[in-house]
């Protein structure tokens, strides 16, 4: 019998090593795997490379990872302006930032999960973010080449999950979670509630179990129950 469930978040992330690249799902607080990130803080792993849309929404989870000095590099589209923990480390030159337009970040992850090497996009042409990238003209329009992105781990947050690794999301939780599930060697899903096989209707299995290696039930981190600050994209 397949059983991907893990007892708790600490066990689910225990093998993250120093220098690991980790994708973190979520946009703002919606779909953020905050319990897994808090468990990652306890492992002591350092020199991490984090792939995330932003840099955290407060002094917990991803924000706290920066505060703890555990991140070497952030690959993100919108680290400004809400994360003071990231900001302090970045301004001191202690964390590297690779800034990627949000849609290009998404598509780089999609390529990484779909067996593709990269893609050509018109986004960023003629801007600072085109520096160092190959430009190719197709049918008279300029495109930048963007490379695929993969990670050692991806942490997801879903609403319902089963022992096969199937995950269903609510509201705007899907965001980066569904695509990151395809692009890492070890995919760890944190869900609000573990349900029996077949209880998630097949039409509502948003992340199929084939993509998920470990699944853990955890309640919502208390910081996720508050109104977040207004913070831009």
């Amino acid at each position: 019998m397949i059983d991907k469930t893990v007892a708790d978040c600490r066990a689910a992330v225990a093998d993250v090593r120093d220098g690991a690249t980790i994708m973190l799902g979520g946009f703002g607080n919606a779909g953020m795997p905050a319990r897994l990130i808090e468990a990652l803080r306890e492992t002591g792993a350092r020199d991490l490379v984090i792939v995330s849309n932003g840099a955290g929404t407060g002094p917990f989870a991803l924000g706290a990872l920066f505060g703890d000095g555990r991140v070497r590099k952030l690959i993100a589209s919108f680290p400004a302006p809400s994360s003071t923990q990231f900001r302090e480390r970045y301004l001191r030159g202690e964390v590297e930032l690779e800034l990627v337009p949000q849609g290009s970040l998404v598509e780089r992850i999609r390529c990484g999960g779909a067996g593709l090497g990269g893609f050509y996009t018109p986004v960023g042409v003629g801007t600072e973010l085109a520096q160092g990238k190959e430009v190719r003209t197709l049918d008279g329009r300029d495109y930048l080449f963007e490379r695929a992105l993969r990670a050692d781990f991806a942490f997801l947050k879903g609403h319902l999950g089963d022992r096969l690794g199937n995950v269903m999301y609510r509201g705007t939780m899907r965001n980066f979670n569904m695509i990151m599930a395809t692009a890492a060697d070890q995919v760890v899903a944190e869900v609000d509630r573990l349900v029996g096989v077949g209880e998630i209707p097949p039409e509502q299995v948003h992340t199929a179990g084939i993509f998920v290696d470990r699944l853990v039930q955890a309640d919502r981190h208390p910081n996720l129950l508050e109104q977040p600050k207004e913070g831009g994209a």
């Binding site: 946009f27 703002g28 607080n29 919606a30 779909g31 929404t57 589209s77 919108f78 680290p79 400004a80 302006p81 809400s82 990231f86 900001r87 970045y90 301004l91 930032l97 800034l99 990627v100 337009p101 949000q102 849609g103 290009s104 998404v106 598509e107 999609r110 996009t121 018109p122 986004v123 960023g124 042409v125 003629g126 801007t127 600072e128 973010l129 609403h159 999301y169 609510r170 509201g171 705007t172 939780m173 899907r174 965001n175 980066f176 979670n177 569904m178 695509i179 948003h206 919502r220 996720l224 129950l225 109104q227 977040p228 600050k229 207004e230 913070g231 831009g232 994209a233």
Partner: protein
């Protein structure tokens, strides 16, 4: 007299036609949602994965899993759809949105514009701005006509780092509505109390005047009591 931020938003809202699929950027653009004509079906897109953003929830009716791109809680309009990032950015980059309303630091005569690298902000963030600018069918800018120091934001060439090249079609400011055409800027409407010479004096590029240029038809106070002009 010139328009308030709400006034600029009101004016834009009245130009969005039935059937528009619109992304509203942070700042002045999100105010447009407050003035949409409810008799027209206009769908608001939020890049985190919503088509059909509804009003803010009433107190006690917040769903923690429903947020819009500004990261505040929202509701869903009837007929809304939820999706993940690849679909959301296919809508944006793939030319499916009819309008993107974006804030700007500068707009150039050829339609180049800058809005992602704010002067004085040491931590950069781009989000979905470049994707929207490249992909939406019509890119409209909503901004103040000049900076808070009085410098023109409508210029011959952008000095600030570009968001995208040659994409802005129209600019709405507290003083005017200006089209960006192959021949440069063309003044279409003046805000009540703003004459053409005062607008030209605050514009850092050549400004032609449309043959049918008119004074904007906008009340001083909106139906809900919001002040639109000062």
């Amino acid at each position: 007299m010139s328009l308030t931020r709400d006034g600029v938003a009101w004016r834009i809202a009245h130009d969005l036609p039935e059937g528009a699929y619109v992304n509203l950027g942070v700042g002045m653009p999100v105010l447009v949602a407050n003035f949409l004509d409810r008799s027209r079906e206009v769908f608001l897109h939020s890049e985190n994965g919503i088509l059909g953003v509804g009003p803010r929830p009433a107190k006690g009716e917040v769903d923690l899993d429903l947020i819009s791109a500004g990261k505040g809680f929202c509701t869903l309009a009837p007929g809304a759809a939820l999706f993940d990032q690849p679909i959301s950015f296919a809508m944006m980059r793939g030319g499916h949105l009819t309008h993107a309303i974006l804030g700007a630091i500068e707009v150039a005569a050829n339609g180049d514009f800058a809005n992602w690298k704010v002067p004085g902000e040491a931590v950069p963030g781009v989000g979905g701005a470049m994707d929207l600018a490249v992909g939406a069918k019509r890119v409209w800018v909503a901004m103040t006509h000049v900076t808070n120091k009085g410098a023109p934001k409508i210029v011959e060439c952008c000095a600030a780092p570009l968001t995208a090249r040659a994409c802005v079609k129209r600019i709405y400011t507290d003083m005017a509505v200006i089209d960006v055409t192959p021949d440069g800027f063309v003044l279409r409407e003046t805000a009540p109390g703003c004459d053409i010479e005062s607008i030209r004096a605050r514009t850092g590029a050549a400004l032609a005047v449309a043959s049918d240029c008119r004074t904007m038809d906008i009340p001083e106070v909106a139906a809900d009591g919001t002040r639109l002009a000062n």
